[in-house]
Subunit: 379 residues, 2 copies
Amino acid sequence: MKFTVNRLEFIKSLTDVQRAISTKTTIPILTGLKLKLEAKGLTLTGSDADISIETFIPAEDDKAQLQVEEPGQVVLTARIFSEIIKKLPEDTLTLEVTENYQTEILSGTASFSIKGLNAENYPHLPEINAEDTLNLESDILKQIIGQTVIAVSTQESRPILTGVHLAIKNGQLSAVATDSHRLSQRKIAINVADSVTYDIIIPGKSLSELSKMIGEDVAQVEVRISENQVLFEFNNTTFYSRLLEGNYPDTDRLIPKDSDTEIDFNASEFLASIERASLLSHAGQNNVVKLALNTENQKATIYSNSPEIGNVEEELKFQKLAGNDIEISFNPDYMKDALRSFGQSTITISFNAPLRPFTLVPSEDQEHFIQLITPVRTY
Amino acid sequence: MKFTVNRLEFIKSLTDVQRAISTKTTIPILTGLKLKLEAKGLTLTGSDADISIETFIPAEDDKAQLQVEEPGQVVLTARIFSEIIKKLPEDTLTLEVTENYQTEILSGTASFSIKGLNAENYPHLPEINAEDTLNLESDILKQIIGQTVIAVSTQESRPILTGVHLAIKNGQLSAVATDSHRLSQRKIAINVADSVTYDIIIPGKSLSELSKMIGEDVAQVEVRISENQVLFEFNNTTFYSRLLEGNYPDTDRLIPKDSDTEIDFNASEFLASIERASLLSHAGQNNVVKLALNTENQKATIYSNSPEIGNVEEELKFQKLAGNDIEISFNPDYMKDALRSFGQSTITISFNAPLRPFTLVPSEDQEHFIQLITPVRTY
C-alpha cells in the first residue's frame, strides 16, 4: 500500500473519523484507524462499536490530490498517527506500508516509521440494505438533535432513556427524549410517503457526535434505517450508529392537555434571570429556585436561597400573565437547558399545580415543540 | 458602606485582584476579597500570603463613575461575589453593607444578599518604605520574565530554585533561573545610578502572575524592593510578592566559556523539528531525542525512537555548522521551552562534549541572553 495526499485535506477526513475512536475501548484494534486504498480512492474508518464513521477521499478530488501508487490496507494507532500527520513539515505526505505492516510516513526531510496492524482483523461495518432513504435538510436535523438530546438520560439505570425516540408516521417525524425529570419533544412534517413508518431509538451520544460533524457546507443528509442500525450519509462521509433495543415509554400521556396559569417570557431574558438565581442555588445544598406568579398584581418573582451563602430575589419582566396565582420550585439547570433550546423567541410557560409538570412552548407555534419540566417538592 | 459603580470597570479591577486569591488557602479569610471605600475611592485587595494585589478605583474616574455614599469596608467570598457581579443585569451596580456585614448587591430588579466578614480580621499588607524606585519598561519586564521563568524549578526540594535570581549592579540588571537541568540568563542595562545594588530572589509563580496582569495599556512599571518583599506598581494596581530567603547558587561558573562545535538554526524551524521528534519520545519510556552533527558532510540529523511505537528521523535545515562531529541526547521539552523564548530569531548552539551542558544564544547578540541545557546520558 502506498499513496501521496494533500496533508490538510487528509487531516479533515482524519479528524472526522477520530470522533468515533475512543482511547478507552476494551477492544485494542478499535484504538486504531483503518486505511483502505483502492484505485477509486482512500477510505478511512473509525469505530467504537456504538458509532462507526467512514470518510472517503476520491482519487479524482482536486484538493486532496490523492495519488494511488499501490492499493492495500492497514490499521494504525489513531492518536499517535494523527499527531504525527498534524505536525509534518510539508503540504503533502507519502504513506507506505512495508513488511509486517510497518508504516513509513514521509513529508519533506522528516520520516516516521510506526507499527501497523493487519486490517483483516478490523471488525466489519454493518451492512444496511434499507430500501427507503429519507432526505433531511441538515439545518433541520441539527435543530431537532439540539432540541431533544438535552433531555436524554445520562444514567445507565434505564438504558432506553439514554436515547432519542424517533417515530415517522403519516409524513410526520416526531423526536422525543426524557430522563423522567424533564421531556423534550419536537415534531416536523417531512417529505415521505404516508406509508413510510419507522419507530427507532438512537443513542443521544451518537446524535450529539453526528451533529458536530455536519458542517456549514452540508445541505442534505440521507438517512437509512435497518433493524439495529441507522446510517447518515453526507458529502463523502458515512456515519453509523447502533439503535437501542426495547420499547420507549409512552410519552404522550405525560404532557398535560390544559393549564391554570400561563406566562409569556422572552426566552433569553428569562434565561439570564435563571442563571443569576442558580448562582446561589448551586452554591447551596438544594439546587432549587422558586418562581412566584401573582396575577392580580401582575408580578413574577424568582427566588433562591442558600443558607450558607445568602439569597437572591429578582422581579421578572414578562409579556403576559394570566390565570391562578402559583408558587413553584424547580431545578434551574433543567430550566436553563430548556430555555437555551428556544433561542431568542417568546415562549409560553403553562402551569397546573405546584407539584404537576409544567410545559414550555414557543408562543408562535405551540404544536411542534414542547419542553416539560417536573417541579421539585420543597417543604 | 455604600457605593454605586460601573459594572464593567468594577469587573476589571475584580479580575486583577482575583489572581491573588486562592480557593485552596488554609486561612479562610484569604478566600475573600477586601473592599475598602473612602472618599477618594475604592480599594480592592486579594492575597494568598505569597502574592497580594491591590487595585484602586478613584472617585474621579470617568469610566468607573464611582459614587461614594458611605465609606466603610468588608470582606466578601471572592468566587461567589465575582460570579454574581459578572451576571448582574444592568451596567451599574449598588453595593451596601448592612448589619453584621450582610451585603446587598442591587442591579436593575435583581437583588442579592450575601454574608460578609469583618475587614478588621483581614491581614495587613506589608509596608514597603524603599527609598529607591526602579522604572522598567513593561515590554522589557515581560520579556525578561518570559525568558527566565521557563527554567525555574517546580520541585520544592530546593525552594530557592523555584525563584528567579535578580541582581542589579553597575547599572545592569541580570535575571537567572535554573532547575539544575537547565538554566536561563538575561542581562540588560537599566537606567539607575551605578551605586544602586540589589540581590533578590522572586518566586517564579509571582512573576508569571505579574506578567499576565501587565496589559497592552501599561507603559512603565515602578519597582520597589524591601528586605523581604518586592512591589510592582502600574496604573492603579499594586502587586506585592514575598522574596525567597537564602543564597542563590553561583550560576556563572556553570556556563561554558568555549566550545568545540557550533551550529546556527532558525529557532522556530528547529522548534518544529523538535516537536515532531518529541511525538515519539513522549510516547515511549525515555523522553529523549538525539541530535547528530556531521561537519564534513554538513549534515544535522535528529532521531527519536520509541520501541513500542516506532521511530522518527529528520534531516535539519541550518545556517552554519562548524567544529567537531558530535552526537548528543537531550530532553526535547527543555529544548522546546528554550527555543520558544527566542521567537523567530537565528540562534547559535554551542557544544563541547556529549555529556557536557550546551548553550543557546541569539546569533546577533550573544552577550545578553543565554540558555543552557544539560544533556541526557544514554547507553
